[in-house]
């Protein structure tokens, strides 16, 4: 079954029930179903074609997404928080002829940006759809492909994760079981819907026949009002909770009637858990773990074990098998470090137009997560960092070597090293250590980073060094870079 078919089913069974809410607007299942049909009707003459969706979070975005599903085409939502040049990189790599956008994004990105597309459809609240132009091209696509989600983070070309209907429905059903979501539940969507986590909130609540309240994290007052307006399940990445916990009084009031505070996109630390429990003792805290490559979710930590096992990712969600394997793909014993692998109907079809990368990640049907892990004697799994030296910055997976290369290639510097440093809200941010060349200017480096990298990658500080941060055996790694940084800071 397709995700949008659940909406049709609830439009028949419980037509008046609220499906989506955004500010003062709300929409019932029956109206939502009609609106989806209205948009889908202009997409029906496309046959399994790729459609970029460029839209801010909101009811409109969900309507468009479901309309692309309903017309049996392929949805490719763009993460609008990425800088324009990153989006252009995605578009150049993905050969997409069709775009659906909102009037807001149309005026923000400007007419020129849309010239590359043969089909341009603009959606606005007062005028449901305006077809600027339409050209139907024949495309060759994976016959099961329904949705492409971009992994967040790096400066290189983001990878498009290909998902099918089964991926989406299976993962939504697993999440419904873990969180016990029913048609009476209302979930808060305050994070980006264009990535795996946000997308899974929409899917699981709509498949359960419940509702989603849509907001954002930009302004704290409306966010707390949204939480307090009848949300039963709140979802956030760790930094979402860190931001909200800066306002303990508001947090206490807003979360008084929330049933579950769920998290994903990064490990919850003990401090966050203790603060939430202190302010809202009745809220059940449910940390979850996943990857875009697994549609969204792979593991969860049962609420009753949060106190004792908060430093683990818990166990597999229903329908998923997790294991830890050595370099020959043999399962290892408890307390031995290996790579976390996963199997289940939620594992992606592969990366869009990149078979080589797909073969590296999916071996004999197992998704290789790239996360180093150990099994505990009770079966729970503890993560021990990334196999490939990736770091988590503000809950985005980032390859420091790619950032370094991009800064080196575009600036007058000799070498650049990215250092993960503590950040109050994001958990981790980056600083740079730079071996200067003639003409290296700190202001120019800052300016380049601000304009060319996503905001969370803007360096906190830039330090000049005069030699390579080598380890004792002469290698450069995150560890040797961090050690050098500590050394430099200590001597300042």
């Amino acid at each position: 079954m397709r995700i949008d078919a659940y909406i049709t089913e609830y439009a028949r069974k419980t037509p008046q029930n609220t499906a989506l809410e955004e500010g003062k607007n709300s929409i019932s299942y029956s109206c939502l179903d009609n609106d989806i049909n209205a948009i889908a009707s202009s997409l029906m003459d496309f046959n399994r074609c790729r459609f970029v969706i460029l839209a801010e979070s909101g009811i409109q975005y969900i309507k468009v997404l479901m309309a692309v599903y309903r017309s049996a085409n392929i949805a490719i939502p763009l993460p609008i928080e990425f800088p324009k040049f990153s989006l252009e990189k995605i578009l150049d790599a993905a050969h997409i002829n069709n775009i659906i956008t909102t009037d807001k994004q149309y005026s923000r990105f400007g007419e020129d940006f849309f010239e590359r597309f043969g089909t341009v459809i603009v959606i606005s609240s007062d005028n449901p759809k305006k077809i600027l132009r339409k050209s139907i091209e024949t495309e060759v696509n994976n016959s099961e492909l329904r949705l492409v989600l971009y992994t967040s983070g790096t400066t290189g070309t983001p990878k498009g994760v290909m998902l099918n209907d089964k991926n989406l429905v299976t993962n939504a059903e697993s999440i419904i079981k873990v969180l016990r979501i029913t048609s009476r539940d209302s979930g808060a969507l305050v994070i980006s819907p264009h990535h795996a986590f946000g997308n899974s909130i929409i899917n699981s609540h709509l498949v359960a026949g419940g509702s989603v309240k849509i907001g954002n994290m930009n302004f704290i007052d409306p966010t707390f009002n949204l939480v307090g307006s009848g949300v039963s399940i709140f979802y956030g990445v760790p930094s979402t909770y860190r931001i909200l916990l800066r306002y303990p009084d508001r947090f206490k009031r807003a979360f008084a009637n929330v049933r579950t505070a769920a998290s994903a996109g990064g490990g919850m630390d003990r401090a966050i858990v203790e603060e939430i429990t202190g302010l809202a003792p009745d809220v059940e805290i449910l940390p979850m773990y996943g990857q875009t490559e697994a549609t969204a979710r792979l593991a969860y930590l049962p609420a009753e074990d949060v106190d004792e096992f908060v430093d683990t990712i818990g166990k597999a969600i229903p329908g998923v098998i997790l294991d830890v394997v050595d370099s020959e793909y043999r399962p290892v014993k408890p307390n031995i470090t290996g790579e976390l692998v996963a199997k289940g109907d939620n594992i992606m079809l592969g990366y869009l137009d990149d078979e080589l990368a797909t073969e590296k990640r999916i071996v004999n049907g197992w998704l290789h997560t790239g996360d180093l892990a150990q099994k505990l004697p009770n079966g729970y799994i503890r993560l021990l960092g990334r196999k490939d030296d990736l770091i988590k910055i503000g809950d985005h997976r980032v390859n420091p070597r790619e950032i370094e290369r991009s800064i080196e290639e575009n600036n007058e510097v000799s070498k650049v090293f990215v250092v993960p440093v503590h950040h109050e809200l994001m958990g981790t941010a980056i600083s740079l250590m730079v071996i200067p060349a003639e003409g290296t200017k700190i202001e120019k480096l800052f300016a380049f980073c601000r304009k060319s990298l996503p905001g969370y990658l803007c360096p906190r500080e830039i330090l000049f060094i005069d030699h390579l941060p080598l380890s004792e055996n002469g290698k450069i790694s995150n560890r040797s870079i961090i050690e050098e940084y500590q050394h430099v800071k200590a001597s300042m």
Binding site: R108, N216, N218, F219, P222, L425, R450, K451, G455
Partner: protein, 81 residues
Amino acid sequence: MEQIKNDIVEYLKANSFMDNNSSLNDNDSLTQNGIIDSIGLLELMDYICEKYSIEIPEDMLTPENFDSLQGITNMITTLAK
């Protein structure tokens, strides 16, 4: 008033996605134009509190007060009185 506005523009140019030569109208949305994100807003708030020695009550953290140059300037003027 103009001085406050200039300070904020300088801050945004130095700390956000705003271009040095791009012009920002007083009522343009900072979030919808991609100039600033949620973490950036909190940092801007800390900067304002420190620079103008004011405390911003939580119920003032709304789009009306924080999403445009004009809104921010008005808010600072009100609170600094």
